[in-house]
Structures are given as structure tokens and as C-alpha cells.
């Protein structure tokens, strides 16, 4: 269980956001939305314990994240960062094995059991065939799946993903989101940030909308992602329509152009 109580986050020199409280149970998914610079990544870093909270608390099963040792934290909460091309071309298998670091003593190397878990994680995401490739040679979508596999190898109950579909083509987006749904069905607690209201509507239970570092809405996706709230968040007119049982958000071209 991930509990956030009256959290204020940011840096010592600059507060980025405040007044966020929520509790996520096992198997629940929270989508994090907000314009560029709304403080999404900084909030995720604070939830991960990478940044100390400026106010309030982040707790996993009742224990404060900020006071946990790095390895203890990594066993409970995993992170899929915004993807990037790594400095060195480690193999996919070696990259996923890095997810085992929190379970190994300082001088140890991963053993056959860790290798098995890494391969299982790759198989879960359907990319076992990539095991021997170098991460620098992969496409953006494949690399994103490798980072998710690494998070799975951590065997943590909570996974945080920072814009997991950004800069992916349409097919890869669908693939990544489908995997998220499967992980959620398996009981993982998931928080992901996104710029796509559609992704939140379909793939999350609840949504947190951040505007200027404060929650604009925090509710079930249906209640949070209203036309009013989306327009306020992105300063552009939209319509939420029904497309074969799915609610999707489209730009509303009402002839007036972009309203501010």
C-alpha cells in the first residue's frame, strides 16, 4: 500500500508542488497528468525516496520511504524512468539483471536464480528474444519494454513509470500500455505520468491532475478527467466522446480556434 499524506515536494531552493494526499491499494493504478513543468517527474522522484519530501510523508505499508535504506526501498518500489540512450551498450540481459541489485550483497554478482528471474521478466513482456542484444541497438519501444522488465526483476509491489509512452510510435504505445494493463491485473500497484488523457481514461483507475504544483483534481478517472478539468489543465477546448464503449478525449474544433 502506497500512502501519501499532505505531501510537499521540490528542492530546498524551490518548492515544486504541495497538498497532495492519496492512498493506493494493491492492484490500483494512478495516472498523473499536468502540463510541462507541472512537477510530475519531481513528484515521482519524491515518491521513490530519491528526493526528501519538503512536507508530509510518503509511506509504503506504513514505513516512511525517506527513512528506508536504498536497497530496502528498491525491494518495495521500482522505477521506470523516461527512456534515454544509455552511455554504454550493456546487453539486454545484463540491463535487466541490474534489477536484482537490491537483493544482492555489495560484493556479490547475480547467480543462476537471478538470471532466471531476469529471463522470466523478459518473457513476461514478450521480449526474451532480445536478451543478447545491446540496449543501444534497440528501438525506443523495445528499450522501454527492457526498462519495464528491469523493474519487474526488482520484484517490487509498486512500479512508478515516468511518461512510459512518450516518444514511442503508435504500435509501441499500444504494446506498452497493454503490458501495463497486464501488470495491473497481476496485482501490481502502478503510478504513471502521461500527457495523454486517453491513456489515463483507459488504463488507470484514478487520476491526479496537477496544475502549478497543486492538485486540480484527484478522483476516479471518470470524475477527474472531465471536459472542464482537461480544458483547464491544457488550455485548449476538448470533447470527451464515446468510442465503442471507451471514453476518448479529442480536440474540439469549434471554429473559434484555441481559447486561452
Amino acid at each position: 500500500m502506497l500512502a501519501v499524506r499532505d505531501l510537499g515536494w521540490g528542492f530546498a531552493s524551490r518548492r515544486v508542488g504541495e497538498a497532495v494526499s492519496f492512498t493506493l491499494e494493491r492492484g490500483e493504478t494512478l495516472a498523473l497528468l499536468g502540463g510541462n513543468g507541472a512537477g510530475k517527474t519531481t513528484l515521482l522522484r519524491t515518491l521513490l525516496g530519491l528526493l526528501p519530501p519538503l512536507a508530509g510523508r510518503v509511506e509504503i505499508d506504513g514505513v516512511g520511504v525517506a527513512s528506508m535504506a536504498p536497497a530496502a526501498r528498491a525491494m518495495r518500489i521500482a522505477y521506470v524512468p523516461q527512456q534515454h540512450v544509455p552511455a554504454y551498450g550493456f546487453s539486454v540481459e545484463d540491463t535487466v539483471l541490474m534489477g536484482r541489485a537490491s537483493r544482492l550483497p555489495a560484493f556479490a554478482r547475480p547467480g543462476p536464480a537471478d538470471r532466471e528471474i531476469a529471463l522470466q521478466s523478459l518473457a513476461t513482456l514478450g521480449i526474451a528474444a532480445l536478451a543478447r542484444r545491446r540496449v543501444t541497438e534497440l528501438s525506443g519501444g523495445e528499450r522501454q519494454l527492457v526498462l519495464i522488465a528491469r523493474a519487474l526483476a526488482q520484484q517490487a509491489g509498486i512500479v512508478l513509470l515516468d511518461e512510459p509512452t512518450a516518444s514511442l510510435d503508435f504500435g509501441n504505445r499500444v504494446r506498452v500500455l497493454r503490458e501495463l494493463d497486464r501488470l495491473r491485473a497481476q496485482g501490481l500497484t502502478i503510478v504513471f505520468s502521461t500527457h495523454e488523457p486517453d491513456h489515463a481514461l483507459v488504463h488507470a483507475d484514478r487520476a491526479l491532475l496537477l496544475e502549478g504544483g497543486r492538485p486540480l483534481a484527484l478522483d476516479t478517472v471518470a470524475n477527474a478527467l472531465t471536459v472542464h478539468n482537461i480544458e483547464r489543465l491544457y488550455h485548449t477546448p476538448v470533447r470527451v466522446i464515446d468510442a465503442g464503449g471507451r471514453r476518448v478525449c479529442v480536440p474540439a474544433d469549434d471554429g473559434e480556434g484555441v481559447r486561452r
Binding site: 555489495a106 538470471r115 526474451a128
Partner: protein
């Protein structure tokens, strides 16, 4: 599915493992051959039979002082051992720093250890100290400079802490360089300046067993620390947030790696002066054959460093009647290699 997947990677591992093992075994053979060449060649040539006799005799306790034996035991062997140690130490330190800074173009002296060691040694020579004291001053100067760079960088709040660290390293190194230049101007041009210049260009000519012992302990210890942490050091090549979210105490691990690499580099500079390029170029070659994984790459990098340094030093003392400074030869070879790598990287 798992069965299929694991058999597949076993083959992949075998291939990669095979490749770095092959490179390592080939390197060992090359090093042994090179040692034989290095022992036999020089101003006083030694035949194989004399080397064999000298070696055997050296292990019995009455060392008769024939010229051949003293050349072998007092000059060639300590020099060869020191060159190998320094080469291995510089290359391993460079490999560690390139991982740490996530940049294949940094060198072991990126945090100013060499220029700090230079200032320490030059100041000691200026103050009238002998070679041993100058070496100790170099070691101290190198460690103190890295400590200063880290202390300064940690006081500057920045998003990209590693970049700040490298920038502070560069400016502090140039400050040390200016101080060295100043001391060269004020030094006694007949007694001190030649010693300073000789030292700044690096040389193994004064190698002796006590140096080998001191450098051996420090460098082997540093290599041992790096090897023990090798798997975890791979995680330092990831962005900081990632390494930490994977459960690595990144700042603590980085401090240990910087300390080990700095001890290896400062020791090298203390025993043979400044020899550049080894720590920059040789890790690249190791990465090309063994891949980027630090646990597979480190032994290859250390071995290649020993081979490279011994080859350079043997060339330096046999190519021309007067000895060439090895630092000059490494730069002559290192510069074109570095430019070629840069071109490849940006292509």
C-alpha cells in the same frame, strides 16, 4: 519458454565469456613474450641462457655480483615490474572513471590527481627534497587535489553534479598547472629544473625494488577493490536516479571507486612521474574486445595496460641512444588513437 530463453542466453554468455577469456589468454601470452624481449634488450644485451642462469642464481641466496646478474636483477626486472604495475593501475583507474562519469572520453586524472601530484613533486624538488620525498609529496598532492575538487563541487548546488565535478576538476587542474609553471620559472635552472622536467615527462629509469613493493601494494589493493565491486560499478554507469532506484547507495559506492582509482593513479605518478593517455586509450581497447560490462572488462583493461606500458617503456629505452620519456611516446601514439575514436563516436 523459460527453458528456451535460458538455453539461448547460455550460448550468448558462452560467446561473450569466450571472447573476453580469449582476449585475456592472448594478452597473457603477449605479456610473457614482451617481458622476455624487454629483459633481453637494452644497452647491455642479455642472451636467453644468461637470463635463465641469472634468474636461477637470483633465487639462490649468494648473488654473485656479475654485471649480467646485476643488470637483470637491479635494473631490468624492477623496471619491467614497475611498468606493468603502473600500466595496469592507470588503465584500470581510467576504466573505472569512464564508467563513473558515463563518458568514454574521461581519463584517470579528470579530477586533477595528476596535476596535483605534479605540484606536490615539483614543490618538493624546489624545496630541495630527494626522489623518495618527491614521490611521497606527489602521492599526497594527488589525493589532496581530488579531495579539494570533491569538496568544492559538493558545495555547488547543481542539477548535473557529475558535470560540475568534471568542470571543477578541469579548472583546479589548470590552476595546479599554472602553479607548476610558476615553480619552473623560479626553480634553479641547473639543479632543479632538469629534475622537474624529467619528472613531469615521466620515466621508469630510476625503478628499484622498494618502489615496486610500495607501488605493488597500493595498486594491487586498488585493483582488488575495483574487482570486488565490479558488478555493482556497472550500475554507476546509469543515471543517478536509476542507480539509486535500483537500490544502490550511489554516492557511497562512487566515493569508494573514486578513492580506489585515485590511489592507483596517485601511486603511478608518485613512482614514475606523469604518463598520460594510458588511462584514456587502453580502456577503450578493452571495452572493444570484452564489451562494456565492468566485471568482464576490468581484467582485460588491467592486462592491456600492463602490455601497453611495458611496450612503450621498452621502446623508450631501446629506440634511440638516449632514453625517450615514455609520456612523450604514449602521447604520440595516444593522440591519433583518441582522435580516431572521437571521429568514430560522433559519426
Amino acid at each position: 519458454m523459460p527453458l528456451d530463453a535460458s538455453s539461448m542466453t547460455d550460448r550468448g554468455d558462452a560467446k561473450r565469456f569466450g571472447r573476453s577469456t580469449l582476449a585475456f589468454s592472448g594478452g597473457v601470452v603477449a605479456l610473457v613474450a614482451l617481458v622476455v624481449v624487454a629483459v633481453s634488450s637494452g644497452r647491455y644485451p642479455l642472451s636467453m641462457s644468461r637470463i635463465a642462469a641469472g634468474l636461477l642464481h637470483g633465487f639462490s641466496h649468494d648473488r654473485a655480483g656479475t654485471t649480467a646478474e646485476s643488470v637483470l636483477w637491479q635494473i631490468r626486472l624492477p623496471r619491467i615490474a614497475l611498468a606493468c604495475l603502473v600500466g595496469a593501475g592507470l588503465s584500470a583507474a581510467g576504466a573505472a572513471f569512464q564508467h563513473l562519469f558515463r563518458n568514454p572520453l574521461v581519463a584517470p586524472d579528470t579530477l586533477g590527481v595528476s596535476s596535483g601530484a605534479a605540484l606536490g613533486a615539483v614543490a618538493a624538488i624546489y624545496a630541495g627534497a630527494g626522489a623518495a620525498l618527491a614521490g611521497a609529496a606527489a602521492f599526497g598532492g594527488g589525493l589532496a587535489t581530488v579531495a579539494l575538487v570533491i569538496a568544492l563541487a559538493s558545495r555547488i548546488p547543481a542539477q548535473d553534479r557529475l558535470l560540475t565535478l568534471v568542470l571543477i576538476g578541469v579548472v583546479v587542474a589548470s590552476l595546479m598547472g599554472a602553479a607548476v609553471s610558476l615553480m619552473k620559472v623560479v626553480a634553479d635552472p641547473y639543479n632543479q629544473l632538469p629534475a622537474i622536467t624529467f619528472w613531469l615527462m615521466g620515466s621508469f629509469a630510476a625503478a628499484a625494488w622498494d618502489q615496486v613493493a610500495a607501488a605493488g601494494i597500493a595498486i594491487v589493493l586498488a585493483l582488488f577493490v575495483l574487482a570486488a565491486l565490479a558488478w555493482r560499478i556497472d550500475l554507476l554507469a546509469l543515471p543517478d536516479d536509476e542507480a539509486r532506484s535500483l537500490g544502490v547507495h550511489a554516492s557511497r559506492l562512487r566515493a569508494v571507486v573514486v578513492a580506489a582509482a585515485t590511489v592507483a593513479t596517485a601511486t603511478s605518478v608518485a613512482v614514475c612521474g606523469i604518463i598520460g593517455w594510458v588511462g584514456l586509450v587502453v580502456p577503450h581497447m578493452a571495452r572493444m574486445v570484452a564489451g562494456p560490462g565492468f566485471s568482464r572488462m576490468l581484467p582485460v583493461a588491467a592486462l592491456f595496460g600492463a602490455i601497453f606500458m611495458l611496450a612503450i617503456d621498452t621502446l623508450a629505452r631501446t629506440a634511440t641512444p638516449a632514453e625517450l620519456p615514455p609520456g612523450v611516446l604514449t602521447a604520440f601514439i595516444g593522440t591519433p588513437v583518441f582522435v580516431a575514436l572521437l571521429a568514430r563516436r560522433s559519426a
